[in-house]
Symmetry: C2
Subunit: 509 residues, 2 copies
């Protein structure tokens, strides 16, 4: 690991890189002049020096308050406005500014004022020099050793910060429970990770997550400004060379880093691969590659978890549909009735301002509204004509029966289904059954399912009636506002009728 | 963060701590002697020095091969068995041993052989001294500055390694999908995290995870050697002061660190809290506390995920039971029949060597075996006596009906249920329905459900028969081995009959 850690900085030598900042604090102007002169051609790791001068401890403090993070080495005089101005400055930097990284060198002209032994033991400095011993050569050596120490610390420190960021990024993504929010998080965290400490401005570049769909590779989520790429095939948006890189990553089962960015392989199995395409515009260095690798390892785990989770949830949804459909099938109604009712309910709920969580529970539970029909005898359930009084009474027991079957469980979805089974034949004006509840005494789930169920039944053919036209059905719903139905729900329904008709069309019989 | 990072080492000054290892490589015995003499009372951060001597570059290499990780500072002569033996040693340490942390100081007696400028630029050393300039005071200063640099690097490096370990530990726990394996992983990773780099031997100490159950706190998982604590109340195993710490952690919603260990609060809500109890025998320092905090944050997320996951799975199981029970209820069979069949099937499957995953799918799917009865008319389904030929033919269509309802879905559980609905009335000798499959042509799921379903039906009262005695039922099963039932399954069933009877007793009618 540490070879990866220390290699890249050295490899990047060359002109054009930021200089090292060196702070000189000394009350003699001549010391500033000589220092700058002696080190004017100095280079370390291909980077020159940039001097900042202060002439008193107070001046240095003001300056450090804003800029201490960028200063690599400080050469500090001891005696300035006071006998220990330089020593106080050391305390200020280490304790008040809490800067442990800056290399501090004391240069004293009066060793008597700051005896070497006392100073080196009591102050957290990195070297102690008498001004007299600092020849040009010694000054150059001092600068080399100081910068080398600073570089080593900053390299590990950058890695340490990167790792902290990987931990935070991972915590973020592990909280995401479904695929698209997960991938949104991954893209966001990747941008933050790669930009880190390197001054790369990666925002507004093209990053995306794509997944194989058969032979195709489809974009699922793209970075800000590239949202329009979602759903597109990578064939339509990438250059041939870029497509080749992705194929190579999948074939070699390995990330690929290029001078322009990276193709990261998150998950690769026989049926589906997930790749992340990063357009960096600049090579990603060794340390960042290692951090990315750690992060992507976690992304793959989070991806597996989400997939497992959604498999279980989808199974649950299908079982509920099946349960609802099974009952409907016995009533000779069509299987898609329960799916449409579920979708109508979800839409009505979200349009009415219900939370996503509650609306989802309603959507899962709504298919079970007629479960109690399981207990209704064939001759009543299947009677083509109107029920007589006694038959109607038996038919109406299905609300109670459904409730009693479902209320055996305390799980939120089944608890909601029990309420729905019980109350979906109550009416706003109190004329419904089994209890005759009215208005807001009827649970909102019951009121929503009542509207969704009736609307779909009106538009469908039943053994006792043909399908109504949409116009007739809507007129009936409107007419029953405040009688059968919650008027607020009718209003929302009418205002968004196109969306409801679209659902009906999508789940036709 | 960096104040946390650098504070603890300083706070821990005192006697009894490991010395700093200093390597002296020099071909003059006198240099060794003088160095040791000059530094004999030296202390840094409350720790003395321990010198290791080598007299040639070759000797130093042999020694470094094994011990380089423990050496803080090396004082290297340049000219020994060759003119550049010391310089070669620098390369060896930095490149071959890949040790970037050891502080390297060149001490040369013949500066002409190794000109300061050339050496300082080309070799990754931390200081360059002529032997003549090294007075006792300068040697002490050098040792202070070198050890200070070493300590700072090692502090960040320890934190860096700790963070890497938190990432690995988190990746491990996020792969765990249910509570007990998750907590096993958490305990294991905590032990590794806290022991890290500190020489604490935490193994065989008492660590456990406990969860509130009402007013009680129950151990769920304990460290190796303390497995017997699982399931026990903390009231029975902790001293009053320890119980008080846990109560305080929950009340203050905060971890508590003591001189002996820690109480870590993983998750705290009105219904359930999860706490981790660590018995360290030694205080946990500031850096490790920070790492633990990061890790526990992830544990809480993993814990939430597992809880969410198990909530969804439990809901699914209840819905399937409900679906099965609903059908059974219509057949006037008792609700617990499907639960018993599910448990019988799971036990038969695992006893027959089926994988945990497949056995779980079977357990989920088995309750749906009679789903097709939904399509059987009341007068046939509810007939108290024997069915005539025509009625029997209609009754038998339930296998096909169930299959056709269930096979609409490709989800593993519903796919398995479709197979079971179709094949649970097939018989080993080919005399069953609907197809007349025989032997291993019948899916193992079908063969298992056939045995479980018949056994439970025999022992239960039905509208057409009273409940059989256990002895009669077992005699019948045995007699039908190789006729109705797979003989291998009958053998496994008989060999473990007590376990099956226990399930029957647990889910009585």
């Amino acid at each position: 690991m540490s070879d990866d850690l220390f290699a890249p900085e050295r490899a990047e030598e060359g002109p054009g890189r930021q200089p090292w900042y060196v702070l000189i604090v000394d009350d003699e102007a001549e010391v500033h002049r000589i220092t700058r002169l002696a080190l004017q051609d100095f280079q370390f790791d291909g980077r020159g020096l940039n001097f900042i001068s202060a002439y008193t401890g107070t001046e240095a403090r003001l300056l450090l308050n804003n800029r201490h993070q960028e200063i690599a080495v400080a050469l500090l005089d001891v005696v300035m406005e006071s006998d220990d101005a330089g020593l106080t400055l050391v305390d200020f930097i280490r304790n008040d500014l809490d800067n442990q990284h800056m290399r501090l060198v004391l240069r004293t002209g009066q060793p008597g004022q700051a005896p070497e032994h006392r100073v080196i033991v009591n102050y957290d400095i990195n070297d102690y020099k008498a001004k007299t011993e600092l020849t040009a050569q010694k000054l150059s050596t001092l600068m080399h050793t100081s910068l080398r120490g600073y570089r080593d610390i900053m390299t590990i420190e950058a890695n340490r910060r990167g790792l902290t960021q990987v931990i935070q990024a991972s915590a973020d993504i592990f909280q995401r429970q479904s695929l698209i929010p997960l991938l949104d998080g991954v893209i966001e965290q990747l941008i933050a990770l790669v930009k880190m400490d390197k001054g790369l401005l990666l925002e507004r570049r093209r990053h995306f997550a794509a997944r194989t769909e058969g032979l195709d590779l489809q974009v699922l989520v793209a970075s800000d400004g590239y949202n329009h790429l979602s759903g597109m095939s990578t064939d339509d948006i990438l250059a041939p060379a870029e497509r080749g890189l992705i194929r190579e990553a999948i074939a070699r089962n390995h990330h690929i880093f290029t001078d322009e960015g990276a193709v990261l392989l998150c998950c690769n199995n026989f049926e589906r691969s997930l790749v992340l395409f990063l357009e960096g515009g600049k090579p990603i260095d060794q340390m960042d590659r290692h951090l990315l690798d750690l992060f992507i390892h976690n992304v793959a785990i989070a991806f597996d978890n989400v997939r497992l989770n959604s498999e279980v949830e989808e199974t649950q949804r299908e079982i509920v549909y099946l349960l609802g459909e099974t009952v409907e099938t016995r009533s000779h109604e069509t299987g898609n009735h329960v799916k449409r009712v579920a979708e109508f309910c979800y839409l009505l709920a979200t349009l009415s301002g219900m939370s996503e969580e509650e609306a989802s529970i309603l959507r899962y539970a709504a298919p079970l509204h007629d479960l109690g029909k399981i207990g209704i005898p064939d001759h009543i359930l299947h009677k083509p004509g109107r029920h007589n009084h006694e038959e109607r009474e038996i038919m109406q027991t299905h609300a109670f029966l459904g409730h009693s079957l479902l209320s055996q469980s305390q799980r939120p979805i089944l608890h909601a289904a029990a309420i729905i089974a019980h109350e979906h034949h109550e009416k706003w004006d109190g004329s419904g059954y089994p209890v005759g509840k009215q208005g807001e005494d009827i649970h909102i789930f019951g009121r929503i399912v009542a509207l969704a169920d009736v609307f779909d039944a009106l538009c469908s053919e039943r053994c006792y009636k043909p399908a109504w036209s949409t116009a007739d059905a809507l007129a009936f719903i409107q007419e029953q506002s405040g009688k059968h139905f919650d008027p607020a729900l009718v209003q929302v329904f009418m205002a968004n009728i196109d969306d409801f008709l679209r659902i009906r069309a999508a789940y036709g019989d």
